[in-house]
């Protein structure tokens, strides 16, 4: 009898999830200690994509570090660019013209939709539904095509510039975007019909990974992950940048702080982003797209190719960098994942003395053990999806 008991004895099992695993959304590695199917301990390992963006940024001028930010959160590079140029502009003490601000708000919200739509597709795919993934990728493709129209690149855009945007947008682009904006709510309805009240979906997400409002703030969560717990902290409302103080939008918040609430919040955010784009197109002011502050902004390219003064001006700004006032500054912006902050320490030269990237995914990855421990192994997959991390941004 003893022998029989012994052969059925349970013991703790250690398994390794990732770094090469389709449900970890990149190269996240989790070491899970299991008791049956319950998770006793979860240890995330990150750093597989560490490229030293902060060190690289310290060795480049403020203009030259812009393309590095594309590679942080590669799903929504437009938002990273907007965050970076906003921080640098505030450090320089310059302001972009109104038209550039509206354009930046518009493309940032397009980036938000394209990022959330990838989140929706992959999150739902992880849990077992294939159809919404295929539909959402079709919509993302349309946004990427629009990005290509405006700046020639689909993923690593580098479209905003310090002091404005790289080039003006065409009427053709605006028409196409408006067409997309009018259609998009009906596509959202399709997604919601497929997912929101789906019984399997609700079984897998309701009451999974609950985190209370107070605890979420203490953990430093931001973006949709925080708002799912019922805190209305949104950088766009709290510290309006670009044209966010001139457009109307609501900030959706959840109640309970489980996976389902976070899902509803992000769905709501997509509809609000659509609303913001619509207002930006309707109220787009005319005027210049670059601030005219010769000490800090690059001259227009066509003049550089024509006359000597502008060529020298461009040469000095690119090689030496502008003369920046000494000081330090932190500026946060709302990217699809949460609050992306840039902290600069300037020592008066053209390069930042210290460039710090506060990335939301880094914090969200660290909260995984808190959400997963005590739950089932299947819920880990739901939790990874719901915190919406991108490892390029987490590891920097």
């Amino acid at each position: 009898m003893d022998e029989l008991e012994k052969s059925f004895e349970t013991k703790e099992l250690t398994i390794n999830l990732g770094p090469q695993h389709p449900a970890t959304h990149g190269v996240l590695r989790l070491v899970l200690h299991l008791n049956g199917e319950t998770i006793v301990k979860c240890t995330p390992h990150v750093g597989y994509l560490h490229r030293g963006v902060e060190k690289l940024g310290e060795n480049r001028t403020y203009f030259a570090a812009l393309p590095l930010t594309d590679r942080l959160d590669y799903i929504s590079s437009m938002n990273n660019n907007v965050g970076y140029v906003n921080a640098v502009e505030k450090l320089f003490g310059i302001e972009a013209p109104d038209r550039a601000k509206y354009i930046r708000t518009m493309v940032a919200e397009m980036g938000r939709i394209s990022s959330h739509i990838v989140w929706l597709g992959t999150h739902v795919l992880d849990i077992g539904a294939t159809t919404p993934f295929l539909l959402s990728m079709a919509q993302r493709e349309r946004i990427l095509d629009l990005f290509e129209m405006v700046c020639g690149a689909r993923l690593t855009v580098s479209y905003p510039r310090v002091g404005g945007v790289r080039n003006d947008i065409s009427q053709e682009f605006l028409d196409k975007l408006y067409e997309f904006v009018l259609e998009f709510p009906s596509h959202m309805d399709t997604f919601e019909t497929l997912v929101t009240e789906n019984r399997i979906w609700m079984e897998r997400t309701v009451d999974i990974g609950i985190i209370s409002a107070e605890e979420a703030v203490n953990w430093g969560l931001t973006g949709g992950t925080l708002r799912g717990s019922g805190v209305d902290y949104d950088v766009r409302k709290y510290f309006p940048y670009d044209a966010y103080d001139k457009v109307e939008f609501d900030v959706p918040v959840g109640k309970k702080g489980d996976c389902y609430d976070r899902y509803l919040v992000r769905i709501g955010e997509m509809r609000q982003a659509n609303r913001i784009i619509k207002q930006c197109i309707e109220n787009l002011p005319a005027g210049p797209i670059m601030a005219d502050v010769p000490k800090f902004t690059l001259p227009p390219k066509d003049l550089v190719l024509k006359d000597m003064e502008h060529l020298i001006h461009q040469f000095i700004l690119i090689t030496k960098g502008p003369t920046v006032p000494e000081g330090e500054l932190y500026v946060g912006t709302e990217v699809p994942k949460g609050e992306l902050g840039f902290y600069f320490v300037s020592d008066g030269t053209g390069k930042p003395y210290r460039m710090r990237v506060r990335s939301p995914s880094f914090i969200h990855a660290s909260v995984l053990p808190r959400l997963s421990e005590g739950g089932l192994i299947a819920d880990v997959i739901a939790n990874i999806g719901t915190i919406d991390i991108v490892l390029g941004e987490c590891d920097r």
Partner: protein
């Protein structure tokens, strides 16, 4: 509350600890001694008028040859209820790179402190999980220090050398027969 008022209040409560208050583009930074940092943070977090409940960011800065104390640990604090912010900076000299961990006050600072140790070699006393976070455990040196070369060390990382060794060993097998 205005950020300068917060700085005054902090000065009133810890007159010995506050070294400097500076303002740049509307943002106020308060430099403090590192000795009672946990106490200061607990005060900023718990005081009902301040209630800085959200730690936005923690990072290190290396002022090699620029300041007397080489390192600084920078805390960005924000209060979601009162909507005010403060930047706290603690000076850490090179001869004693230890500072108290503030994990007991804000749990989410855990990985930030690990990263700060990883990149600058600043040791956080009382940290629950003091390992490197982004780099491998046996990495030599602290990459964000100013005296660390931009292109990295001359020697390859031991783990990568191991991979190269193994690739040599496996070269004897023909995979495509």
């Amino acid at each position: 509350m205005e950020p300068l008022q917060i700085a005054d209040k902090l000065k009133e409560r810890f007159p010995e600890e506050v070294l400097d208050v500076r303002e740049f583009r509307g943002q106020v930074s308060v430099t403090v001694r590192k000795g009672r940092i946990l106490e200061i943070c607990r005060f900023l977090h718990d005081d009902p008028d301040l209630y800085l409940d959200y730690l936005v960011d923690l990072c290190g800065v290396d002022y090699l040859g620029k300041k007397e104390n080489r390192f600084e640990v920078v805390y960005h604090l924000y209060s979601i209820r009162h909507r005010h912010a403060l930047r706290l900076k603690a000076e850490v000299p090179e001869r004693d790179v230890r500072i108290d961990s503030v994990v007991p006050v804000w749990v989410g600072v855990n990985w930030h402190e690990r990263e700060c140790y990883d990149m600058f070699g600043i040791v956080f006393a009382g940290h629950p999980d003091p390992r490197r976070v982004l780099l491998p455990e046996d990495w030599e040196g602290y990459p964000l220090r100013k005296d660390y070369p931009m292109k990295g060390p001359d020697k390859e990382w031991s783990g990568f050398e191991d991979v190269l060794e193994r690739s040599k060993k496996y070269r004897q097998y023909d995979w495509y027969q």
